[in-house]
Amino acid sequence: MSFLPNEQEKEEMLKAIGCKTVEDLFRDIPREFRSPPINLPDPMSEIEIKDYFKEILSKNASFEDMPSFFGGDVMPHWIPSAVEALVSRPEFYSAYFSYQPEASYGMLQTLFEYQSMICELTGMDVAPIGLYDSASTLGEAARMCARVTKKSEFLIPKNVSWQKKSVLKNYTKGCGLEVKEFPYDKSNGKVDLSGLEEEISQHTAGIYLENPNFFGIIDDRLEKIKRLRESNEFLLVTGVDLLSLGVIKPPSEWGADLVIGEGQALGNPMNLGGSLLGVMASKRKYMRQLPGRIVGLTTDRDENPAFCFTLQTRDQFIKRDRSSSNICTAETLHACASAVYLALMGRGGLIKLAKWNFERGYRLKQALKEVSQVEIPFERELSFNQVLVRCKRKKAEDVNKELLANGIQGGLILTKQFPELGEVALYGVTEQHKDEHIEKLVKTLERIA
């Protein structure tokens, strides 16, 4: 019983409470519901479990074993060893929510710093400490638009991932918000701004725009978008690649009321897509409508600086059925990791890394252009570290299969969602992709695509 310290003291403890056996403590369960012996295996030793995991995990192929080129919110990014060392301190990971601020000073300050750095990066004023992932964060953002504006429609571009759309639908089901799609421009892959303008009405609670968008394209019509926002009474929710903000203008400068993004890139592992980190930040005027927990700086009895959770009247534990969100356990440890990550990077590091990712994306695009069997649908457009690729001869699915047989995992196939674009897949690269990886991809495509 290596985890149960009271095996020896059991009798004494039972005696103290006037019971004979542990079974006595379960007498209140009606006999008919008392379980037969549970059908689970015998406990295993650490040695056996390590062997077991060694074997079973060898059936996985990690990025180290086999490079992948999937685009999307989640990508392989470098995590500095100091980030890993710090968030693996049990002082952080084995704590609960900082309900007693006097005993949780460390976590609260770390989270305050997270909020501060996310706000610097996005140009916003307030940032809750980390929601589940980018998709559910979009859901929360939409719900927030409804709360703020009391209006009934939320507009999203057609070219948003189907996962986001599906999660959004589930998140907005309860608040009676209708999600409407506006088209993208098939000539350049960007959202069709006039199509969008047509959809805007007095019912529009919010609009969602991504930059770079789901095709990896950077929209350069920021002034237009800003004017659109200014002349209308809705909230503009922007989805960004947080890393790209090292170089690209923050959404605060083109009209955003709310910024959301996937925080995995900021010092967190991919973990097969979970756990992730939903980053959200807003203008200060909306702070009382935000979902999730927020840390405030205050003072203690001696007037020394101290931190605690604040704006709690939005929270489920106080507001119950009228709270801004049901979220309780969130992704706090990942927010800590991102705080450490951003502190290590600093302005200089982040700018360098953003440029590097631009360079990788550019290099990938250039390399793919040379492959005769594929084409780049929106080749002329600016892009960050992702490129949409069209296979001219084979199905994208078959191409991926052949790539796999050659030790490469190809791009994220979008054909099903966007049949109008043909056999397309979204390829992505980061600072983790070496020249050799790209070369191997290109050579293999040349051979098999």
């Binding site: 985890f3 103290a16 559910s136 489920q316």
Partner: protein, 487 residues
């Protein structure tokens, strides 16, 4: 403001410093000026500075590895180190969610096996690991119920729950589009008559946690299930309290139709200061078609695992991908470590709770609102302290910090005045329990002033939460601009 314990990181760092070495790559093309960022006020610091900064902060943070953390409803049990080691392997961490199934067979097998185990433990038929936490699990459960009734073409608009329910329950119900009907408890348990009145043909779901948030087993569960089902409604199990039953009884057997579990509570994955967690949903067969996609399928004699999307009745997705794998792996590791001895763990958790309750209540200062055998947790009221000394539960909690232990949950559930909600878990030793009880008894004897001034030995003294709410100061940018104004 006076003295900082640890200066903010922007004081430590500066705009020209960085703790990483990266190549100085040139932008490969000209970015239009309109797109270019002008300034980025993100100070950096060297690796030694960053490490020291957050190491110092970590040391100002109480955690399970340091001592007892008996937050009721939170199941703060010890997190085995093996789980950390395994969840940090590259074959768990460095997998892209879009990878070909043939390259993630290991994790899929783990996920599938865990789902089977969770069904066995809960007495349910099907399971999804997608929800990222308990509350998201609740939302999924309620969306499933909604889809279920929509499929039956019998839309229902209400969710009933006891007034002792956790805040996420009503919040999730609202998010799923339901009206919430709260049923007042009777003697700390569901009032069957109240239930009968509340549950109608318009009730979609009755949400219940059992043992309930007072730590009491809902003995009338059979009758509760009968009442709920008799109106065609579904019975939802909030599994946050499964640690009081695990291995001894199964919600599925009691008539629950849907259950969420908190892997970060019952199954020993660490809380991470508030996440990542994982809130799997288990359902009875007839609801399984509504589970979110994808679902893990095992097929063939070769035991291939796949992620299946073809479930037309599914509610769709609730998370970008398929769940929080780091947590899933830890929970699975825990179940391998414990195996069928989870029953012993729950037994010890219940014994620990009853023992601790006994020891604390010995002095008479803390009152048991509903005298009964408790399960894994129990609730005590400090109202006697309030009456006799003017001391509140909050003061008791703060004073506990001075003794170097973490306070219980306070003021929840809302139905017990001045309450302490205490859940020691099975991994606390008798020694720790005796110590905790003694501290609580000693505190009750201390003078009121001492308690009201507490804590005095923590990094900061009593924190002014009112000021924090009145003048929210949420970033260092705001701090800097306020300080500048003052000058």
């Amino acid at each position: 403001m006076n003295k900082w314990i640890v200066p903010l990181i922007n004081e430590v760092g500066s705009l020209n410093k960085s703790g990483v070495r990266l190549p100085d790559v040139k932008l490969p093309f000209d970015l239009p000026t309109d797109l270019k960022r002008k300034d980025l006020n993100l100070p950096g610091a060297t690796e030694p500075e960053v490490v020291r900064h957050y190491t110092k902060l970590s040391k100002l943070n109480y955690a399970i590895d340091e001592g007892i953390y008996p937050l009721g409803s939170c199941t703060m049990k010890y997190n085995p180190k093996l789980g950390e080691q395994i969840a940090n392997l590259p074959d768990v961490k460095n997998l892209h969610p879009s990878q070909d199934e043939s390259t993630i067979q290991g994790l899929l097998e783990i996920g599938w096996s865990l789902e089977r185990m969770l069904c066995e433990i809960t007495g349910m038929d099907a399971c999804t690991l997608q929800p990222a936490a308990g509350a998201q699990g609740e939302l999924v459960g309620l969306l499933i119920a909604r889809a279920y009734f929509e499929a039956l073409k019998r839309g229902r608009t209400q969710v009933c729950l006891p007034d002792s329910a956790h805040g996420t329950n009503p919040a999730s119900a609202t998010m799923a589009g339901y009206e919430v009907i709260e049923i007042p408890s009777k003697k700390g348990r569901v009032d069957i008559d109240g239930l009968k009145k509340a549950v109608t043909e318009n009730t979609a779901v009755f949400m219940l946690t059992n043992p309930n948030t007072l730590g009491l087993f809902e003995k009338d569960i059979k009758e509760i299930a009968r009442v709920v089902h008799s109106k065609g409604a579904l019975l939802y199990y909030d599994g946050a309290n499964l640690n009081g039953l695990m291995g001894w009884a199964r919600p599925g057997d009691m008539g629950f139709d849907i259950a969420h579990l908190n892997l970060h509570k019952t199954f020993a994955s660490p809380h991470g200061g508030g996440g990542p967690g994982s809130g799997p949903i288990c359902v009875k067969e007839r609801l399984s078609d509504f589970l979110p996609i994808p679902r893990i399928k095992k097929s063939g004699t070769e035991e291939r695992y796949s992620l299946e999307y073809d479930y037309p009745k599914s509610i769709g997705k609730i998370h970008s991908y398929y769940g929080n794998w780091g947590v899933i792996v830890r929970a699975y590791c825990y179940l391998l470590l414990m195996g069928n001895e989870i029953k012993k763990a729950a037994g010890q958790a219940v014994l620990n709770a009853n023992y601790l309750k006994k020891k604390i209540t010995q002095s008479g200062w803390y009152v048991e609102p509903y005298k009964d055998v408790c399960k894994h947790e129990f609730v005590l009221s400090c109202k006697k302290l309030l009456e006799k000394k003017g001391v509140r539960a909050l003061n008791v909690a703060k004073r506990l910090l001075d003794y170097g232990v973490h306070p219980p949950t306070i003021y929840f559930p809302l139905i017990v005045p001045e309450c302490l909600m205490i859940e020691p878990t099975e991994t606390e030793s008798k020694r720790e329990l005796d110590n905790y009880a003694k501290i609580l008894r000693d505190i009750a004897e201390e003078d009121a002033e001492t308690l009201k001034n507490a804590p005095v030995s923590t990094p900061v003294k009593r924190v002014d939460e009112v000021q924090a709410a009145r003048k929210p100061l949420l970033t260092w940018k705001e701090l800097v601009s306020i300080s500048a104004e003052r000058k």
